[in-house]
């Protein structure tokens, strides 16, 4: 009996938000945003280790709760409650838009809870993808949307898709070496295979892109520039944190060590830290934007995180010792950043309501602008060259048509000639002669 209850409870953590994502359901329920968080809070408060295996779902998906997951789930639930409060104030005139936003909200929530609870790679991937797309929707779902936000959101989307493709390859590699896709078994399998280095790099790259870790941070900065407080809190609390969590879960930390990868990661983290300090300095000189500086703080934290991961990879035993503290680090990071962001954005909005319109992409440092330039350039190439290419082909086809016309006329003329008596009789007699000759000289 107790088992069934636990099963239901665990399932309802991502399940209830998913269910409430249906407009007919949530539009009839009051307080539905809080209702959807409830199972997560209950699970986070009960201290118990429990897991279930849904073998009929996809290739078999596992959900489980342990101390680490509980911590994250609790923090995340808190964040969601905060965001829900902010959201319930921010409503649009149109019912359709409200419904859409609510659905996206629920989907994102389900994704984030599911990812925290997932005990296998596929499950994590599924839920984090759901969360990613849902979050993208939330970013752009408002009525009054700054066009820069829209562009930034697009960059986020592209980054996320690329990251997902990477992680998909990771999944394939894992599936190749092990039957069981749960984290524990996958780590064992991958640690013994030839794919280890590839696996490590793909995972790090994929999640680093999702978390916006230097040097893949460009989308994060761009998105933050024009975000309201609710979305800003969500961004640091959900996609970024889930991505960091993903790295922790997917990497075989504490089970195997890969010195080169680890050291390289440490190096990257260090450079990232220095670079971010540099950025903060410039930002302070140029714009004095509190929000952006908070965002850069996040970059600092993620740089630290990468150094930690790098260390964990170089030495498995060290990792086991401070593994738990890393989880605390993420949890606290999300909370702290959320509060900080909420405060600064509030402050900023009070102080500079007039400058908001002037804020443009140009505010970014020149060395930060290259991704946008590259995207624009590629787009231009695509849209300019292809039509010409096609017109060339069309011309050729037309030419062919003319040729056919000429042929047609000459054929018709030949047929007319054939029908004249003189030609006909000549042909006939020639044929008779030829046939007879052929026979005789055979």
């Amino acid at each position: 009996m107790n088992d069934i209850l636990w099963n239901l409870l665990l399932l309802s953590v991502p399940g209830l938000p998913l269910l409430l994502a249906f407009p007919p359901l949530h539009s009839r329920l009051p307080w539905f945003r809080y209702l959807a968080v409830t199972p997560a809070i209950i699970v986070a408060l009960m201290s118990m280790t429990y897991s279930i295996e849904l073998s009929w779902l996809l290739f078999g998906i596992g959900l489980g709760i342990d101390g680490q997951a509980q911590l994250l789930l609790g923090v995340s639930a808190l964040l969601w409650i905060a965001v829900a409060t902010l959201f319930s104030r921010k409503t649009s005139n149109s019912k359709a838009v409200n419904n859409l936003i609510s659905s996206l909200f629920m989907l994102t929530m389900a994704g984030s809870f599911g990812a925290i609870l997932a005990t296998d790679l596929v499950g994590f991937f599924v839920f984090s993808t759901l969360m990613g797309y849902g979050f993208y929707g939330l970013l752009i779902a408002g009525d009054d949307l700054h066009h820069q936000t829209r562009r930034a959101a697009r960059i986020y989307l592209v980054a996320m898709i690329i990251a997902d493709v990477m992680l998909f390859e990771v999944l394939l590699i894992t599936a190749l070496v092990t039957e069981n896709m749960s984290f524990a078994m996958a780590h064992q399998g991958i640690a013994q295979s030839d794919y280890l280095t590839l696996y490590l790099w793909l995972v790090v790259f994929g999640f680093a892109l999702k978390a916006g870790i230097w040097p893949l941070h460009f989308w994060l900065i761009a998105v933050y520039r024009h975000l309201g407080s609710a979305m800003a809190i969500l961004l640091c609390g959900v996609p970024v944190i889930i991505a960091l969590l993903g790295m922790l879960r997917w990497l075989p930390l504490g089970e195997t060590s890969s010195i080169t990868t680890g050291v390289t990661l440490q190096g990257i983290g260090l450079i990232g830290l220095l670079y971010t300090c540099f950025l903060i300095f410039f930002e302070w000189l140029k714009n004095r934007s509190f929000t952006m500086i908070t965002v850069y703080t996040m970059l600092l934290a993620s740089g630290l995180f990468i150094i930690a991961i790098g260390t964990g990879l170089t030495d498995a035993t060290t990792w086991i010792r401070y593994e738990n503290s890393v989880y605390y680090f993420i949890a606290l990071l999300s909370l702290a950043l959320a509060i900080l962001l909420a405060l600064t954005i509030r402050l900023q909005q009070h102080h500079t309501t007039t400058t908001a319109t002037q804020v443009d992409d140009n505010t970014a440092m020149w060395f930060e602008r290259w991704p946008a330039t590259a995207v624009a350039w590629a787009g231009n190439i695509g849209s300019h060259t292809l039509p010409e290419w096609r017109s060339g082909w069309l011309a050729k086809v037309n030419h062919l048509g003319l040729l056919v016309c000429v042929w047609k006329r000459s054929l018709a003329a030949n047929e007319r000639n054939l029908q004249g008596w003189t030609v006909a009789i000549t042909l006939f007699l020639t044929l008779a002669a030829i046939i007879t000759l052929l026979l005789i000289f055979h």
Binding site: L57, A96, L100, V126, Y133, I161, E169, L172, I173, A175
Partner: protein, 498 residues
């Protein structure tokens, strides 16, 4: 002369007879026609269900009729055939419902539904064909039955599209014919056999076999829209939406892909084809198709054209899966036959709904349409994400097995093709979704029609919603017994020497 003999024949005949009756039905007898259509579709589903159960419990269903001395018309229900038959029977019902709603009050419905039934007959025949000549027979019948559907609208553009279609498919059919006859002269049999029937042939015939392979695959590749033989498909989208849906999801394109599967597995045998060295070039052609068509899709503003190029790209997944030699890739390829069908039919239904209800034909007109037609666009969204391969939808499963199979077979380059295709798919589908859900609606649409209390008439709405739900379930419940994936595993286990 018992059930095992009659059942395959009955399944083929159920739609054929309905079609013939519908042909001679006067235009104004709408009720009778609807009854016949739905009745035949339901009957077929029941028969197919019986047969599925029978095949699963090990019965042999086979119809044999003499056709030529030494050659017979064979209809046989093997596992692979059943997969395709079930797909076509199921989607036929939905498409019929949809078509009834779509063509309400339009002229020439008897003609339309007649050929529609013929088209399904041919598809089921293609699926059940037990040897190459039977396959060829129904394959050509399919060409003929689809042509009137494509030019149904009777406009100049439709005629042109029909002409292009014929030029391609008849030429393809001719190549297929030569290949088949040649094969027959070499072996004296054309019977589909698991793991092929050619491996015992003297090795001096191998060059000829390679040529035959090329002939057959080129012939089939026309319908499967392999690059550079895909030119007819984007043009054929001038057909009414239900036709496009059927064409892209079940009938023509799939017949080609199914043929490729048959030829490689049951004529040549996958291991023998690999030893002939013909699978790698095929895999490369399929890959090129996947990428090229996706790139072309990016630049289409016409919604159905974009979907058409997407089909070109997606159907080549099947070919790719087959051409990567390995059981897992095979699963991916064959299961995509079903998955792509369900997803693509959803997309085309939705495109048809937009065109029929709001007069939207172009992507650029779709801004804000999600608020006007939320159910339709929700179904569309699921279909599109499925195409991208987002988990846990059907497309994810296919892509998973394709990628896994490629790695298993040591053909790592395929991974890049898949990744590139995912990115491109996202690039041409997501802007549509973005515009539909988050774009500002620009007032009223070109010719908006007010249809009742739902966003559009129910006959148009229910089929895409059902297929969208199917697309989700096919992914989520992939490991459940009787799911296409599990069925495909069964098929695959027969094709590889253990």
């Amino acid at each position: 002369m018992n059930w095992a003999f009659w059942l395959p024949l009955l399944i083929v005949l159920s739609s054929l007879l309905a079609a013939l009756v519908i042909f001679i039905l006067p235009e104004e007898k709408t009720k009778t026609r609807i009854g016949l259509n739905i009745g035949a579709a339901l009957l077929k589903i029941v028969l197919v269900a019986i047969m599925l159960w029978g095949v699963h419990s090990g019965y042999q269903f086979e119809t044999r009729l003499p056709l030529l001395p030494g050659l017979e018309l064979v209809l046989r229900a093997d596992t692979l055939a059943m997969l395709f038959v079930a797909l076509s029977a199921g989607l036929w019902l939905l498409t019929t419902v949809y078509a009834i709603g779509y063509l309400e009050d339009s002229p020439h419905r008897s003609r339309f539904f007649g050929f529609f039934g013929l088209c399904v007959t041919a598809t089921v025949g293609v699926a059940l064909a037990g040897n190459l000549i039977t396959f060829l027979l129904f394959y050509e019948l399919l060409t003929l039955a689809t042509y009137p559907l494509i030019i149904h609208r009777g406009t100049e553009a439709a005629r042109k599209a029909g002409r292009t279609y014929l030029i391609y498919t008849l030429a393809g059919g001719a190549l297929l014919l030569i290949g088949t006859v040649w094969l027959y002269t070499l072996t004296g049999t054309l019977e589909f056999t698991a793991r092929g029937f050619l491996s015992t042939l003297d090795s001096m015939h191998h060059p000829a076999l390679i040529i035959i392979f090329v002939l057959l695959i080129t012939g089939l590749g026309v319908k499967a829209a392999l690059f550079p033989l895909h030119g007819w498909l984007p043009q054929a989208m001038v057909a009414p939406a239900p036709v496009s849906a059927l064409l892209h999801a079940v009938a023509v394109v799939k017949a080609g892909a199914f043929g490729i599967i048959r030829v490689i597995y049951d004529v040549f045998g996958i291991e023998f084809s690999a030893s002939l060295g013909v699978t790698l070039p095929l895999a490369i052609v399929a890959s090129v198709t996947i990428i090229y068509a996706s790139v072309r899709a990016l630049f289409q503003d016409d919604l159905k054209r974009r979907l058409a190029f997407s089909t070109v790209s997606q159907v080549s997944y099947i070919t790719l899966g087959v051409a990567i030699v390995g059981p897992l890739a095979t699963i991916g390829g064959i299961v995509h036959l079903v998955h792509q069908g369900v997803m693509k039919i959803t997309l085309f239904f939705c495109a048809g709904n937009l065109a029929e209800t709001l007069g939207i034909h172009k992507v650029s007109e779709m801004s804000g349409v999600g608020r006007r037609m939320p159910w339709t666009m929700a179904a569309f969204t699921i279909g599109a994400f499925g195409m991208i391969g987002a988990p846990p939808l059907a497309g994810f499963i296919s892509k998973w097995y394709l990628g896994l199979g490629a790695l298993q077979a040591g053909q790592d380059w395929v991974i890049f093709v898949l990744a590139g295709s995912t990115l491109l798919n996202a690039a041409y589908f997501l802007p549509i979704l973005y515009a539909a859900w988050f774009g500002k609606s620009t007032g009223s649409w070109p010719n908006e029609r007010n249809i009742g209390r739902y966003e559009t008439s129910l006959a148009l709405l229910i089929p895409p919603v059902i297929t969208a739900i199917l697309a989700v379930l096919l992914g989520l419940l992939a490991s459940v017994p009787f799911s296409p994936l599990e069925w495909t595993r069964l098929i695959t286990s027969l094709e590889y020497t253990p």
